[in-house]
């Protein structure tokens, strides 16, 4: 078998080598891991900055040792590299498992087992029942006589129903290996394309170069699972990375939370502050030094090399030295702490027993901890309907025949069940159930129902299994074609039981004569083979046949709402979150569900954008993104609605809607939640993607950021966990910047008093340990444990969620407040200590203190102030918080006593020797420390008290014990969007049947 590929529209064949069937999803190889990973890590602005600082410290003579910045950086880089390496190793393992799974080939008339990766284009593959196809295949034949096979495409597009595929006409008769092996053919096909629904125009030429078949063929794609049929053989035409699956494989792009973005902005602000500080000091240094008696007084002479150095070089190294001196303002430890807070914090989500589902035995899963705090920032929730809001469990409720309504127990054991593989209608003997009501029409209806379906009977089933394509996007009956049938029945879908939210089917029939049938058949065949406007032509044909039916009756099936779905949606709306339902279902079904789950209320004003030509056009444009005007109009309408329902959404359209909102003017934070593979694209697109560990497989859960067992868990996840995570991390970020302003600003001020000589105020040990051990654990614990109000209150009062909406705690105002508080505290520390030491005795025994005592005094005030500031902000004091806050203060004291208590043999200076003890033995120093701590904390306390008293937020009211005032009910305008394109290519492709009708 020879395979050719051709670009669409060109005649030129491109000779090419086809790749083997190896799938590669891993990022690194053993060899390029170290350089590639390092490169990627240093592309992060923070890491790159720390690397530069470290290198500067290595190269020039700086006031602090390179170890102080090198060690933490090394730690961060190593931990990240190990994490990423491990993840990539897992991907390698998964790839290997996939590439090495055995596949049956036909070679020289015999069945051979080989590893999947050895498959080449043109090989003939045999696939058994319940196996997945190893690559994209042309279906040659099956062991079923009629050349059909049944497959599910759940892992590609989330549709779990069984689909019938037909073998190529000319080869479907081949049954054994020899016959197939004898096939000689040339296949001409297109270049690989990612579009799943597009049909492939494939020319197949068998012996003697006869053009045998020129048709659009549905290929059997990789990852499709074969069902029911016993043996399928096919020719591999796209392999490895050219398969549909690989082309559709969307690498999970790294999502960044709003907090992280704010953090990066703040980082740049601080970087600017840092650079300007260093610049100011460098300039002032040279101004100050312009007097020679200051530059080089007799008591402080330079060495020869120093004198000879070029002025500009000197200025530049001075600038770098100042940068190094102040670099702690952006600490490495912040990144470590944030990572740790996120990683450890995410465990509280998985541990939550209220989010554990007894029925399925599943708890929440955290696939990425980077987005924890984003859960507290959600403004839009996009939810799937089937399986997310509803159980995805179809139950036959009633049927209506000739005006009589029958409920299930009357129709005996008539029951429609739905499971993840399809719907089985178990009906032992539809007509002869021996019940009183045995009217002809009922019989006839049942007969129609039994005949007109796409159900296959499994051999091992003891009862007749009746399977109907009842999935959301395909709620129409397909009619099998048997020429001797007297009637063709048509399923019209119309809503009879709208309020109850039932899915209904109308059953109707029409008699066709043999001529009529063959006419219709011919028309359809022609339309199918048309090269242009196929869709339109097919629709015309269907239109022609599908008319003048005789109504038989209707059936109703219910998909029940998940428990507490309504409660959850109500809570989310109270929290100021807009809930959009994006579904592939029809408008009526979806709207009924929306009413049932209280997304729409009885008094809501409904705005419909439905199938009328213009709207459809506009919507289409909106979703294709081609027309900016319509896009804005659509946004305008939807943003003013409290709830939006979009129907008839294809997976990609769901993602487009999410993207549209995501990129709109205000850049709202979006969350997408769904359970099926068809929701994956929107899950990947939204800021936060949540998968329901549901019935339609784990595809959604695997691709999501978080997975939960039930929709109702979303409430606690957002309102409680998300809120907590956000409050915690925003305080963590602000506090980190604050404490480092407090730390470094005195250092900056000291330069004005030491001749801009880069003299450090604090000892090296203090410089290194300040962020690592003296002040890091309390804030980490705060970041893990803080509950500014109780979890129950948050759940009871969803409106509290609005208090933190739109990144409220990390706005510029808050950031500037924290920064100024830091500057104020730093000024208090420094000048307080300065006036205390001002050319006077600070001891009671007349002895004097030196510069290290001064620095230690400032540092002691600093450590106590920033720790107590955190203590003031803590609303939830468990024993762990007590232990960490008081423990780290005690640790500071013990460390200082130890550090100053011994002549350390490995140090080449002993400047801290007994400095701390001498300071503590002086009464005025104690009084000074107490005063400075008090003065630094007072303004913050005052601000808190005044803000609470004058402008309390809802959260603060709750904290004090009051109840939240009722919220003005949200805009009661509602909008539903109805997509008009009912027929997806998927449906059309199945139209080997003579008649087709959709709403």
């Amino acid at each position: 078998i020879v395979c050719w590929r051709r670009e669409l529209g060109t005649e030129a064949y491109i000779p090419q080598r086809f790749p083997d069937n190896r799938i590669v999803s891993s990022k690194y190889t053993f060899w390029n891991f170290v350089p590639k990973n390092l490169f990627e890590q240093f592309r992060r602005i923070a890491n790159f900055y720390f690397l530069i600082i470290f290198l500067v410290q290595l190269i020039i003579d700086t006031p602090t040792s390179p170890v102080t910045s090198g060690l933490p950086l090394l730690f961060v880089i190593t931990v990240t590299a190990i994490k990423q390496g491990y993840e990539d190793w897992l991907r390698h393992k998964a790839d290997n498992a996939m590439n090495q799974c055995p596949v049956h080939f036909i070679q020289h008339g015999k069945l051979v087992r080989k590893q999947s990766r050895k498959l080449r284009v043109g090989d003939i593959v045999m696939v058994k029942e319940d196996e997945t196809f190893p690559c994209d295949l042309i279906f040659l034949s099956s062991s079923r006589g009629d050349g059909t096979c049944f497959v599910t495409t759940a892992s590609l597009d989330g549709e779990s129903s069984h689909k019938t595929y037909y073998a190529v006409q000319d080869t479907k008769a081949f049954h054994n290996e020899q016959e197939i092996d004898a096939l000689h053919a040339t296949i001409e096909c297109e270049q690989p394309q990612p579009d799943l629904y597009k049909l492939h125009r494939i020319k197949e030429m068998t012996d003697y170069n006869n053009l045998v078949n020129c048709a659009f063929i549905k290929l059997l794609y990789r990852a499709i699972v074969s069902k029911i049929s016993c043996l399928i053989s096919g020719v591999a035409i796209y392999t490895g990375m050219e398969t549909k699956m690989a082309l559709n494989y969307q690498a999970k792009s790294q999502k960044r939370s709003a907090v992280e973005k704010s953090m990066n902005v703040f980082l740049i602000v601080y970087l600017c502050i840092l650079i300007s500080k260093a610049l100011i000091n460098t300039v002032l240094k040279y101004v100050w030094q312009s007097e020679p008696f200051r530059d080089e007084p007799w008591y402080n002479q330079k060495t020869e090399p120093e004198r000879k150095r070029n002025l500009f070089l000197r200025a530049f190294t001075d600038f770098l030295a100042f940068m190094v001196l102040f670099n702690y303002i952006i600490p490495v430890s912040m990144y470590v702490t944030v990572e740790m807070q996120k990683f450890l914090g995410s465990y509280f989500l998985t541990w939550d027993e209220e989010m554990f589902d007894e029925d399925t035995g599943e708890g929440p899963l955290v696939n990425t901890s980077d987005l924890n705090e984003e859960l507290g920032q959600i403004e839009y929730v996009f939810t799937d309907k089937t399986g997310t809001l509803t159980e995805n469990n179809m139950e036959f409720v009633e049927c209506c025949i000739e005006g009589h309504v029958y409920v299930p127990h009357v129709i005996c054991n008539g029951q429609i069940l739905h499971d993840c593989t399809g719907i089985d209608m178990i009906d032992s003997s539809p007509g002869g159930s021996g019940k009183a009501i045995l009217e002809i029409s009922l019989n006839f209806t049942n007969q129609t129902l039994c005949l007109c379906h796409t159900v296959q009977v499994k051999d091992d089933d003891s009862v007749d299994g009746l399977k109907k394509n009842q999935l959301s996007r395909r709620s129409c009956i397909y009619i099998s074609s048997s020429p001797d049938e007297v009637a063709l029945v048509e399923g019209i879908q119309r809503y009879v039981c709208n309020q109850e939210g039932l899915r209904t089917l109308c059953v109707a029939y029409k008699k066709l004569t043999a001529e009529e049938y063959s006419n219709a058949q011919k028309l359809l065949q022609n339309a199918k083979l048309a090269l242009q406007d196929r869709e339109k032509k097919l629709a015309e044909v269907y239109e022609k046949i599908e008319r003048d039916f005789i109504l038989l009756g209707a059936t109703a099936v219910e998909d029940r709402l998940q428990e507490k779905a309504a409660d959850t949606i109500e809570a989310l709306q109270k929290a100021g979150i807009k809930v959009w339902v994006l579904t592939g279902d029809k408008m009526e079904t979806a709207a009924a569900t929306c009413y049932a789950c209280k997304l729409f209320r009885r008094n809501t004003q409904i705005l419909e954008l439905t199938t009328k030509k213009i709207e459809e056009q506009s919507l289409h444009d909106v979703q294709d993104g081609s027309s900016a005007n319509y896009r804005e109009l659509f946004l305008e309408i939807c943003r003013n609605c409290s709830a939006v329902l979009c129907c008839r959404m294809a997976p990609l359209q769901k993602a487009q809607i999410v993207k549209l909102i995501k990129l709109s003017k205000e850049h709202p934070i979006t969350l997408a939640i769904g359970d099926g593979a068809n929701d994956v694209s929107m899950i990947l697109e939204a800021h936060v993607g949540i998968g329901i560990i549901g019935k339609e497989g784990r595809q959604a859960a695997r691709n999501s950021d978080y997975a939960i067992p039930k929709f109702k868990h979303l409430k606690k996840m957002l309102l409680v966990h998300g809120h907590f995570y956000y409050v915690r991390i925003s305080e963590l970020v602000q506090y980190f910047f604050y404490k480092n302003v407090c730390f470094i600003f005195p250092q900056f001020l000291y330069q004005f008093f030491c001749g801009f000589s880069q003299q450090t105020l604090y000892d090296t040990a203090y410089l290194t340990l300040y962020n690592i051990s003296f002040t890091s654990l309390p804030i980490l614990l705060y970041g893990l444990m803080e509950q500014h109000v109780s979890a129950d209150t948050l759940k009871r009062e969803p409106s509290l969620y609005r208090d933190v909406a739109k990144n409220a705690l990390l706005r510029w105002r808050a950031f500037i407040y924290w920064t100024f508080l830091g500057v104020f505290d730093a000024v208090v520390f420094f000048f307080g200590a300065y006036f205390l030491f001002d050319n006077t005795v600070v001891t009671s025994n007349g002895q004097m203190f030196g510069n290290w005592t001064f620095g230690t005094l400032v540092f002691t005030v600093l450590v106590f102030t920033v720790t107590l500031k955190l203590a003031l902000d803590t609303h939830y004091w468990t024993w762990i918080n007590h232990f960490m806050i008081w423990g780290s203060l005690v640790f500071y004291i013990i460390f200082s006593l130890l550090w100053g208590g011994i002549i350390w043999p490995f140090l080449n200076y002993q400047r801290m020797y007994y400095v701390f003890m001498q300071m503590l033995s002086s009464g005025p120093a104690w009084l000074g420390i107490i005063l400075l701590i008090t003065v630094s904390l007072l303004p913050d306390v005052l601000k808190k008290v005044l803000c609470r008293q004058l402008w309390p937020t809802a959260t603060e009211r709750i904290q004090i014990g009051g109840t939240c005032i009722g919220l003005d009910s949200s805009c009661s305008c509602c909008c539903r969007v109805f997509r008009g394109t009912a027929r997806t290519p998927e449906l059309k492709s199945l139209s080997f049947i003579p008649s087709h009708f959709t709403a």
């Binding site: 008696f293 007799w298 060495t303 005592t853 004091w877 008290v945 014990g961």
Partner: protein, 350 residues
């Protein structure tokens, strides 16, 4: 959630393996103290802080006022000497001068004598690191590795002892105090030891071990600006000589700012000075060696008493009073706001 009861495991029925642990920590339900900013707590803390600060401040001001201090700038009073010292070639020429002053009332208690320097940047980085603590510990170390440059060795390779800019620039004026009583001049007895930190004197500074001090420093040379080698700093007292000399130790503790004072001597309380310095006329006899005019600095000599709150620095007392007042006033402001808002149903409910 509300259906919590349904969650309790049925008796005899094993919980599913993935079911999370029900510990208080994992469920974020650890018992916790939840402090609230109630009006009572806020007001009492403000008023308490205010009262505390005010009382401490008043005490501090009172005690600081009881400190007696006399500060005399002698950098210009010996103008000939200062000119002489501007030229470093005159380093071995002696220059003396005397400064008279009068005490109108007695200074009672311990009297400390300080020398003060202005505009002397002891905290300059190049200066601060220019020392070798290991050398001062009496260890035989290679000072080339320290930051002592350019005061490490002489051209001929002889190492300096002690090395570095700090040691080299040691304050070397000698100041003596004389009491003029009825035309007779009595030298006030001054203590030159016991002025440095005990730990510095006994641990941090050690002479190299040898049978006598001059041999311990054999092979080294004095720093260039010194007039005599380190083992002759105090020839009278073996325990105050070499590296363990009090004046040297005190100088080596670098000050935090460019204006500073260092403890020089204490008045020994014997004879007529048993209660301190009596009122009368006094004279400082100064041997002027330390040049300050070259860097536009000043030199002072200070006599001061010390109380529990330190020297004559009113800052701490004033700061306490000011912050105490501020806290109290804020307390009142909050009370007023609270009372006004309570009529409009404030959130502050006890």
């Amino acid at each position: 959630m509300k259906n919590k009861t349904s969650f309790l495991p049925q008796e005899g029925e094993a919980r599913p393996s993935r079911c999370p642990d029900n510990s208080a920590f994992k469920q974020q339900k650890l018992p916790a103290w939840k402090p609230q900013l109630t009006i009572a707590a806020v007001l009492s803390s403000f008023f308490l802080t205010g009262v505390f600060c005010l009382s401490v401040g008043v005490c501090l001001i009172m005690s600081a006022n009881s400190v007696r201090e006399i500060q005399i700038d002698y950098s210009d009073k010996c103008s000939d000497c200062s000119k002489l010292r501007e030229n470093s070639s005159n380093w071995n020429k002696e220059c003396h001068c005397s400064v008279n002053f009068m005490l109108k009332e007695d200074i009672l208690g311990d009297v400390f004598m300080y020398y003060g320097l202005q505009n002397f940047y002891q905290n300059h980085r190049r200066y601060v690191i220019s020392r070798s603590d290991a050398q001062l510990l009496g260890r035989n170390v290679n000072i080339q590795k320290s930051y002592c440059a350019p005061f490490t060795t002489y051209r001929n390779g002889t190492p300096m002892a002690p090395c570095g800019a700090i040691a080299n620039s040691m304050f070397n004026d000698t100041i003596d105090l004389f009491y003029n009583l009825n035309s007779s001049v009595i030298q006030v007895p001054l203590l030159k030891t016991g002025n440095s930190w005990w730990t510095d004197k006994n641990v941090k500074f050690r002479n190299p071990k040898s049978y006598n001090l001059s041999s311990a420093f054999a092979g080294t040379a004095r720093p260039p600006y010194w007039q005599k080698p380190v083992y002759l700093l105090d020839e009278e007292d073996e325990r105050n000589n070499g590296y363990v000399n009090d004046d040297f130790i005190i100088w080596m503790r670098v000050s935090a700012f460019a204006t500073f004072r260092n403890l020089y001597r204490r008045v020994r309380r014997i004879r007529q000075f048993a209660d301190g310095l009596p009122a009368g006329n006094y004279t400082f006899h100064i041997s002027y060696n330390f040049p300050v005019t070259k860097f536009k600095g000043r030199k002072h000599v200070i006599l001061s008493t010390v109380v529990w709150s330190g020297g004559s620095n009113p800052f701490l007392g004033i700061a306490y009073v000011v912050s105490g007042t501020a806290a109290t006033l804020t307390g009142f402001v909050i009370t007023v706001i609270h009372l006004k808002l309570r009529k409009k149903k404030t959130f502050f409910q006890k």
